[in-house]
Structures are given as C-alpha cells and as structure tokens.
C-alpha cells in the first residue's frame, strides 16, 4: 500500500477506461470511464499488461458467496440425501448474517460417490470448509467438499468434547477417545488448530 492511499467515494470518476486500464472490483464502467462504487481507497493491480483498477472498501466488505469461493459453514440438519448448513465466513471475511446452503450427498467426496453416507460424513454442529458450486436452484447455495482440503475442520463428539482428526475419514474424541466418522479436511490452517487445541484444555 502507498503511504498516502488514494481515497475515493461512490460515483467518483477514476480514469478513462481503455486498453491499459480496466474496471475491477468495486468499480463500474460507464461511457468510457471507470467510476468507483464504494467509499474506500484505490488500488491498481497489474495483470497480463493490463492495469486493473480496484476500489477496496475501508470497513468490512459487503460480500455474498460467489461460485468458487471457499466458505466456512456450520452443519445444521442432515438427511439421507443432503446436509443443510449455514455459511458463516466467505474466505477470510466473517459474515454478519449467515447464508443457507446445502451439501448434497454426491458432492461430499470425489471418489466412491455412490457409497457416501451423509451421517458418516457430517453431524449437526460440525464446522466444514466447502467450495461454492455454480448456482443452479434459485434459493440455496450448493457446496462441495469433494477435495482433499475440504471437509470437516472442527467437530465435537457425541459427548460434546472436541475431536482430533486421525485419518481422512475419522476423528477421535479428545476425552473419551471414541472414534467417529467424518469427511475430514486434510489441511488444517495452523493457527486455528493451535487455538482450538489450547482452548479445549
């Protein structure tokens, strides 16, 4: 970031829209000019010789999940065919209001799709990482966990104690050592795991 960030307001004309400059996040193009959509600061990103003009909001951004985003969600209801959940974070941004989403049985994992059982993959209350699928139905977001890095990251055993992953299909209760089945995400971000291990003590 520059020492003096360039502050702009909605509707402010930023520059001409031509071969070198194109409109990016937080801006719009009208009659050959790029205008700002937000109150924030201007950022210019160079990509393939094109300068993308972006405006970043100063405070929290208003985000809605979009196709391809990695989201953090909490499972609320499981059925035979799908698990319902609430999206709590999109990327690093924490949402003030959760969005509803579902994970269908066939999107739980990449292999042996026909042998997936929802109850062996997720339980209500689990925190999962998922990727947003293209929006087909009008209302609900669909998520997939069919990647190694996606799946359950935080779960509690039936007794209510936190569990530790022991394989990509199993987690173990830290108190009772009972194993439960889950679709476990492979990589845990270091910090979160550390935080949780500490707090659970």
């Amino acid at each position: 970031m520059d020492d003096e960030p360039l502050i702009c307001l909605p509707g402010q004309r930023l520059c001409l829209c031509d071969k070198t400059y194109t409109s990016g996040q937080g801006t719009y193009e009208r009659q050959g000019y790029i205008y700002s959509q937000l109150a924030g600061y201007v950022d210019i990103v160079e990509k393939d010789g094109v300068k993308i003009v972006e405006v970043h909001s100063s405070g929290e951004q208003t985000v809605v999940p979009a196709q391809g985003d990695i989201v953090t969600a909490q499972i609320s209801i499981i059925t035979q065919a799908y698990a319902k959940c609430f999206i709590k974070c999109v990327g690093d941004t924490v949402l003030r209001r959760p969005f509803r989403a579902i994970i269908r049985k066939e999107d739980v994992r990449a292999t042996e799709k026909d042998r997936v059982e929802i109850y062996k993959s997720f339980r209500p209350g689990d925190i999962v990482l998922g990727r947003v699928l293209p929006i087909t139905e009008a209302h609900v977001y669909q998520l997939t966990t069919a990647e190694n890095e996606l799946g359950v990251v935080i779960a509690h055993s039936e007794r209510g104690h936190p569990m530790v992953p022991i394989s990509w299909t199993e987690m173990q209760c830290s108190k009772t050592f009972i194993k439960e089945q889950r679709k476990v995400a492979k990589v845990l971000p270091e910090k979160i795991s550390k935080d949780f291990m500490q707090s659970s003590k």
Partner: protein
C-alpha cells in the same frame, strides 16, 4: 483470524478471555460502560432524553395527552410506557408487531415505574372523575448492545425530569377545557430508580452491564433496580441458579452505581436549566 474464531466458537472465545479475568472489550467483570445522558433535545415531545450505555442507545420521549380517569380510580392519571425494539437497532429484529422480547421488557419497565413510585398517578389528575393526564412514555432503542433496561431507566428519569405540563383550567359545569401554554409546571418525580443488569456466564462468572454478545452467550440475566437505599426490583427470570450470597453480592454492586447515576442526572439537567 480472531474474528473467525469468535464467529465459529463464540463461547470458547469468551472463556479464553474470562479465564484471564478480563472481558473482550477490555473491562473487568464488575465495571460498567460509560454512560451519556442528553435531555430535552426533542421539543415535539413534552419530555425527552437520550441515553447511551457504551454502544447501547435508547431515546425516550414523553407525550402528554388529556383523557378521562377510570371510574374505579377517579383521581388518578395514566402512565403508558412502551419499549420499541425496531429493526433499525439490530439485525435480530424484524419489522412487524413487537417481538416477545420487546413485550417482556416493556412490562418490566412498566413494573419498575410502578414499583419505584417515581410518578404519583394522583399528580396527573386535573379534575377528579373528569380530566387527567395520560403520559405516553415511548422508548425506542437505537442501538441494541445489551443492558437495554438500564439505558431505558436512565433515559426515563432524564425525560421525566424535563417534562413540563401546561396548566389546564377545567370548568366542570360547562365541561370546558382551557389549556394555558405559557404557564407550565414540571412533573414531580418522587424517586430516582437506578437499574443494573448482570449476566451469569458459565453458571459462575457474574458480569456487570453485559453487551449484547455477552447477553446472548450467558446462562442467565439478573436485573436489579434500586431507588435510594431501597430495592424496587430483583428480577431473575430463570437461568443459572445462584446462591443467595451471590445474589446479595449483585445487589451490593449495584448499590455503588446509585450515587454515580444521581450525579450524572444532576449534571445533565444543570445545562438545560
């Protein structure tokens, strides 16, 4: 990262803080948030005040209207308090009729007004069985960040102190009402109730003046209202059980707040004159 942690596991987030004897907003368990009181700034109301308790903001406006007293109590006026929790003040609330929470709090405030006897209903009578004042006391929460009752009671007292009622001449024979706007009198306020909210966290830690997050995560709420040295409300609607010593401890803590509130009110009203 902390944000996400808080969003996904709020209870643990809080426990981590509280285990170090501090609350996420930097207060220790017993401290109250700063209080701001502004009085008489809305002149369409007959009395008004705005109170801020940390972020929690409540505006109280009093409108006086004339009406006929009830046949059962011909020498009493009316006080009609209502708390509105509009969708403006928090994403928790939806437009429409008052939520259960708003109703419960309205009634609690009504009880406090009644129990503390801060308004003597006979003061509101103009002519027995014929004419009396009806005070519509409307509270609107502008920012819902916990301990709303406390903020309401502060605003209530501030607003009551600014009420000025015009003189009314009532001719019983002709049933004629004459209002004299030039000549007004203040409403006698007989006591100053001071309310304190406590939250019980994890069945044992008692937090004074909780924020909305603390209220959501806690396992019980206590509201204690004092007027001078007397108690006029100890309201604990369920939640984690407490020993009587713990409850008395809360009363002791809230007692300390009384002189502070009294001074605040005095200072606030001085400027209005």
């Amino acid at each position: 990262m902390a944000e996400q942690y808080k969003s996904l596991h709020p209870v643990k987030y809080y426990r981590d803080y509280l285990s170090h004897n501090i609350r996420p907003d930097g207060r220790v368990f017993d401290t109250f948030r700063p209080v701001i009181l502004n009085t008489g700034s809305i002149d369409t109301a007959d009395g008004s005040a705005l109170s801020k308790l940390g972020q929690t903001t409540v505006v109280c406006g009093i409108k006086a209207e004339l009406c006929k007293p009830k046949a059962e109590s011909p020498n009493k006026g009316f006080v009609v308090p209502n708390l509105d929790l509009p969708p403006l003040c928090s994403p928790k609330f939806r437009p429409g009729p008052p939520s259960d929470q708003a109703q419960v709090l309205s009634q609690l405030i009504n009880d406090i007004i009644e129990n503390s006897q801060c308004i003597d209903l006979t003061d509101l009578c103009i002519f027995p069985d014929k004419l009396a004042w009806c005070l519509y006391i409307d509270f609107i929460c502008l920012d819902f960040d916990g301990s709303v009752v406390d903020a309401c009671i502060i605003a209530l007292v501030g607003a009551l102190k600014t009420v000025k009622l015009p003189f009314v001449d009532y001719d019983a024979a002709l049933d004629n009402i004459q209002v004299n706007l030039e000549n007004t009198r203040p409403l006698p306020v007989h006591s100053i109730p001071v309310s304190t909210t406590f939250a019980i966290f994890d069945d044992k830690i008692i937090l004074a003046d909780p924020t909305v997050e603390e209220e959501n995560l806690c396992t019980g709420i206590i509201v204690i209202v004092l007027k001078d040295d007397e108690l006029c409300c100890v309201h604990k609607p369920g939640g984690s059980p407490l020993s009587s010593d713990e409850l008395l401890g809360c009363i002791e803590k809230s007692k300390k707040k009384v002189p502070l509130m009294r001074d605040l009110l005095k200072t606030a009203l001085q400027d209005v004159g």
